[in-house]
Assembly symmetry: D2
Amino acid sequence: MTYPNPLRFNPAYSVVKQYFVHLDDSVPQKIVVHKDSPRGVHFRRAGPRQKVYFNSDEVHACIVTCGGLCPGLNTVIREIVCGLYHMYGVNKILGIDGGYRGFYSKNTIPLTPKVVNDIHKRGGTIIGTSRGGHDTSKIVDSIQDRGINQVYIIGGDGTQKGAAVIYEEVRRRGLKVAVAGIPKTIDNDIPVIDKSFGFDTAVEEAQRAINAAHVEAESTENGVGVVKLMGRYSGFIAMYATLASRDVDLCLIPESPFYLEGEGGLFEFVEKRLKESGHMVIVIAEGAGQELLAESLQSADQKDASGNKLLRDVGLWISHKIKEHFAKNHKMDITLKYIDPTYMIRAIPSNASDNVYCTLLAQSAVHGAMAGYTGFTSGLVNGRQTYIPFNRITEKQNMVVITDRMWARLLSSTNQPSFLGPKDLAEAKKQEEHPTGLLDGENCKEDHQPGHVGTMFNSSALLGCLNCMQ
Amino acid sequence: MTYPNPLRFNPAYSVVKQYFVHLDDSVPQKIVVHKDSPRGVHFRRAGPRQKVYFNSDEVHACIVTCGGLCPGLNTVIREIVCGLYHMYGVNKILGIDGGYRGFYSKNTIPLTPKVVNDIHKRGGTIIGTSRGGHDTSKIVDSIQDRGINQVYIIGGDGTQKGAAVIYEEVRRRGLKVAVAGIPKTIDNDIPVIDKSFGFDTAVEEAQRAINAAHVEAESTENGVGVVKLMGRYSGFIAMYATLASRDVDLCLIPESPFYLEGEGGLFEFVEKRLKESGHMVIVIAEGAGQELLAESLQSADQKDASGNKLLRDVGLWISHKIKEHFAKNHKMDITLKYIDPTYMIRAIPSNASDNVYCTLLAQSAVHGAMAGYTGFTSGLVNGRQTYIPFNRITEKQNMVVITDRMWARLLSSTNQPSFLGPKDLAEAKKQEEHPTGLLDGENCKEDHQPGHVGTMFNSSALLGCLNCMQ
Amino acid sequence: MTYPNPLRFNPAYSVVKQYFVHLDDSVPQKIVVHKDSPRGVHFRRAGPRQKVYFNSDEVHACIVTCGGLCPGLNTVIREIVCGLYHMYGVNKILGIDGGYRGFYSKNTIPLTPKVVNDIHKRGGTIIGTSRGGHDTSKIVDSIQDRGINQVYIIGGDGTQKGAAVIYEEVRRRGLKVAVAGIPKTIDNDIPVIDKSFGFDTAVEEAQRAINAAHVEAESTENGVGVVKLMGRYSGFIAMYATLASRDVDLCLIPESPFYLEGEGGLFEFVEKRLKESGHMVIVIAEGAGQELLAESLQSADQKDASGNKLLRDVGLWISHKIKEHFAKNHKMDITLKYIDPTYMIRAIPSNASDNVYCTLLAQSAVHGAMAGYTGFTSGLVNGRQTYIPFNRITEKQNMVVITDRMWARLLSSTNQPSFLGPKDLAEAKKQEEHPTGLLDGENCKEDHQPGHVGTMFNSSALLGCLNCMQ
Amino acid sequence: MTYPNPLRFNPAYSVVKQYFVHLDDSVPQKIVVHKDSPRGVHFRRAGPRQKVYFNSDEVHACIVTCGGLCPGLNTVIREIVCGLYHMYGVNKILGIDGGYRGFYSKNTIPLTPKVVNDIHKRGGTIIGTSRGGHDTSKIVDSIQDRGINQVYIIGGDGTQKGAAVIYEEVRRRGLKVAVAGIPKTIDNDIPVIDKSFGFDTAVEEAQRAINAAHVEAESTENGVGVVKLMGRYSGFIAMYATLASRDVDLCLIPESPFYLEGEGGLFEFVEKRLKESGHMVIVIAEGAGQELLAESLQSADQKDASGNKLLRDVGLWISHKIKEHFAKNHKMDITLKYIDPTYMIRAIPSNASDNVYCTLLAQSAVHGAMAGYTGFTSGLVNGRQTYIPFNRITEKQNMVVITDRMWARLLSSTNQPSFLGPKDLAEAKKQEEHPTGLLDGENCKEDHQPGHVGTMFNSSALLGCLNCMQ
């Protein structure tokens, strides 16, 4: 790679000059339709616009990464930098060091194509990250004082809520600053989008732990391998890792309640499976069985710096419970091995598929900000890059729908009990009908004044609520 | 994993009994829409149907794999077997040994959940494969003689054409045999579907070769690393591997013509890049530059057993050409290393993401056949599992649209010349407008008689052309 | 691979018929010599003998694996089976299921070349393992009752002690049964031998955990990554993994005492390193700092089934101590991530280097037993395969000599304090002089009667104490 | 890692101050002994000496890498730099760019611990390499002009011969310049030493290609997988990769002649194996069967820049021959897949085991040069680091002894024919007796004057021919 004069636009784009995205191009959120389905919510298609809001040499961009590690962070950083530089000739780009608090308490890191050239081959984030530290007023002060006019914020649910607040404050102060988010969640718990970056890599890497648990379990009599995977509120990693592996006998996720004792309970199933096969593998998402754990511990909720519940280690807890049960009842000598691969999964570089995905997300965000959109995240919806208003992805969480076919596939693959009573099913069914809280044909409830959430700066000419496209 | 009585249905599905797929559920092929877009082609959504056509104990299924290896073949085989067994209680399943010709010239392999339990961790196909060998009449004789009533055919373009012919012959003879295809193409060159299984794994594995080429090139003065990747008619693997890697300076694919000599030619670019960076990496799809190669060789087309053009090794050819050019002109001493990782890519087991994808494809095919559909392939369309009539995926090939944004992203990433003149652009533009040959609002040209392509057996009750859904 | 008639000897060996190992061939234990060094202990060189004690069709062999998992177990099993079969035409080989107790409480598993053909590609042990369960009299009863005359015992320190007792009992009863050990210890804590099988693989796999800890630490302010590695009494894995990685700032092993508080203590070093670099990685062997931990916990020793001290988890303990220290003193906000990759390391298949090594160990054991040696283990000494009497490898443990140059290299690489006072050094120095408890020129203290430890059955003709070779 | 004041010696070594290597410590080359074996050749043990010849601040070191890539080059570079800096406080270290010719035709690259900190995680060599370019007089001029007094030369056979010539010229000119070699040969064809760095990594990586060949072969009828591995004159990689894999049916190496046609020939064996198993895998070293190939091609020898014979691609040749044979005789339809993983193997980073090994080699070289030794390479002999005079490793090549037990193990593992007649055996036997051309008790033929090969500068005090130690 060589780096041409940044002020000379990359000739590549001249090839497709006449193929810019139409302003009206949109992607429906719901695409499984009946003959007479009404049209539902649509999102604006992402991509380069013919009219660019910013002059390249006036752009002063910054990038910040918040929250826990996730494979692909460095690729997103790299591609924002390279996208701004190669596609738009922008060369004033800062990395904010160490998450939100870096805006006001630390020095920034100049980012150039050369600096970021190889970072996609490394895990972690070269600009550092932290939880919490969100002080809206200090952050916007810093943005204003440094003359920053494009802010790229990479982070999860809490971080994107913070981004929405920054966006509101920026608008209140009347600053011409584009605020763009790139949703990051290794748990895949952000709604609307097809999947989050790093998820594929995490599921792939989780196979190692499951394989190891399987080998350990198989090599002893009544061997039980327990693997804890990420997933505070949603069990996607556990579910996909289980489906991909085929060596798992029981997958426990936050969305599917279970109980330990008695008929149809977990202990009974473990005993049954051990008698049938001589060994078993259990995958448990970190947020599964929290009520049981809470009962056990009678402990009050605690919050960590980002506001997530500080979950006690459910993997250690369930391992202890199982060992205790079988020891107490002298029914069986079991050998249980517990594996927690969390940090080994979070810290690896993204795989090829996530690398390409991160590239698209980063470039979409760059195209959006350059075109003058603000208050949005870039996201893949039904296989297409789109712009999604902040509120759409922060108001709910994406969760495994346990009455849906993917979970049924898992049940069929593991042959595990569903642990569900009729009440659970009714509740789960309700959830399925509106998986992301969006109704068919739902009307946009936004206020379509210029400068509103998801609009463009010079909205008189270019218009548009990103949400309903009116 | 233990295997329960096959005749007792898996209880997992009772959970979702009331959530079977609606018969009218469909997925549009084109989802980027304008406000007033007409409705275009839709495909039937895949999934379990409330009414099942076959009795489990009457089912006699067979599976055949044809053509070259592709990561995920064994996973598809495993999941058809396990899907039939665990979801529908079917336990008469045969593997046809060694591709189409195995129907009439070899013994079959009994497939049970136990036999296939671990095969997804291995590359290749446990039932063997071959090219060609398609003798319709002998194959349908064998199906009839053995009393087979579900045929699962895994293979590429040519194989699916063969499946369509088998389907026609089955229908002509009035047999109650469901013929289901699962499209296999490591090149991702099958139209309509989002991507083919094994593609992700192939792109991932290609990174190794590109990394090696990069290291070799970087370690010598004027080092050139050349990597040949799969892609006879479409350059998807080369394009995605290049995008994922970021170490590639030039990516050559069949869809984008190029020339060697003169201004703006390949040699000029190589020389320029070597002068700038001291080294470079070239990725070339096996089908790139065929006209140039043909000119060079003045050779007539040759066909291999499956009917593909026997392509001369373009990687060796381009390596030779580049070395010859720089030797002849004494301009530069270059060191060129050529890597052909083809068989190392084809033969690896599928990664986690492809494992899950293969599961969905296999289960969709099983649900379709059990419900009485025939003459279809299962495929992912806009992120949803659907049933696609054979003709839709065999009439065209999926190709990289070089005026589209993904190719523009690549050009921007490599900073390579587009090698395109105005005529090339005009032609490419035409292609983009109808990338898979399907027009918006295109009318179904099928004949809607019962028993027609893509209909169900007992169509009086359940009806329906899979294509236009009338 | 195909399997010829077992009674027809493999023609391969006829090639080297005239190159059998000389009976007197020996390998010195100590090879760094001065001009006038006396000759020290030598071990008999392993390899095929011209005179074979057993008739192939009379051999009834069994294999047992005991203790924790270690990469390579399956390769050793495979190569004993294939070695007996292909080299000597032996085809009565049993796997004892689940460790020592399998001799009397479980069924055996028939082992053939076909059964073991692919097992070296899998982690774990296909014949199962367990701790403890050693009941000498029941085991020898079972050997006698089943007519077994070759016993291959794969296991660690405790297991080899058990093997020695079995050997004594076999001899007491006057049975013609060869008892051969293959030392297994992922910790590399068995003396005399160059290294144990699986060690290389373990060090390689440990790199993943260290990399992850490094990425986690680097990505936050004052990030501390802690990795616990195997090593109850000896820190070889921790030391080699640290040397191989170069990302480690502090390596703690059982052999090198350390202290937490005060000047020159661990807390001070952590603080200093964080101030210098902003992050750090600590590798700790599971047996390090046991006295400190014991003080902390004031807990009595507990024993597990194999007799090892039940060590409390030192990784959790040190992580807790460091967090507590920095929280208490408000000096620094640190972020500490703890990774325990133990089971993921133990359960992987052996790498190529260990595969070859396991082959040599297994074949050496087979040659020894066939030649009529008994009461020995096979082991690599100074790069040569040898036979070592049981007592030599069970009387002491191999430990890192902290005054030796390998540990000095580590100190130089991590730049960590040595934590050593003059008393520690004096003690350590003593240890170095006789690292495995064997003095130069030490005389053999064995009784050289026929049938003694390490002799051959028909010792009148072939003679020889394996130890001193008199 | 932080970098302390280079002039302050690393405190680590103070710990072992009193444990420096004795000047008389030596390691015998031949350690398998009989009771009355004479003492043979011994090499000086490597390690830090109490008396250091150079003052740290006077040292001006340079490093050069020559020849083809090999895993571990960057680790060796890193450890020479870090060893000089951390252990001896040396901070003037240059990288010579692009091999020998870089001394006089290119700029140098300043090397500091910071520059080399992460390079061991990358394949290749950061200072570039090339073949040939050895102009003794220009090189020594450059050494003299730049004031360099320590030269570290990393390369193979040809390179070490070049180093010997540089050493002679340096001595002729009376320069106080230490010339130290580190032998590099991925083929493991350098004599005396136990194995070369990168070899383990290469054997490991070769498994991928063999696995792929096996999968391809297994998946078709009469499938033949052919893998070409490195090994111009010696077949170690092919032999070890075959032993580690167990999926290989035929391994062909330069040391073991074979023939194609007729009884007992290769074609017959291929046919037999295909009939038995339906598929087979052939591993061929690049230098195997050169005479047959030469006959085929009737081509004269050609030389490449380093003087190696330019070998025609034996893998393509044998693949062609086998296909031609079976096509011509219509005996069998075979499907042959040829894989050449050479550059993918050479270019990967070294594994953990090689990383540690490279560290020892580099540190040994540094200790030797600092102590005033010159004209030597560092090398592992019988598991101990030693100093070996140049001539000992350049006068012969290490080759697989086909009458030795390792090759017998391979024959036993693959069950392949030995292709050997009585004449071949006699010749091979001769070779075995003196595998590296060194006789037991051989007298040193060197001239023991001060300044001679393998002596120290101030030899009056410190004495010693590295060879015979007189």
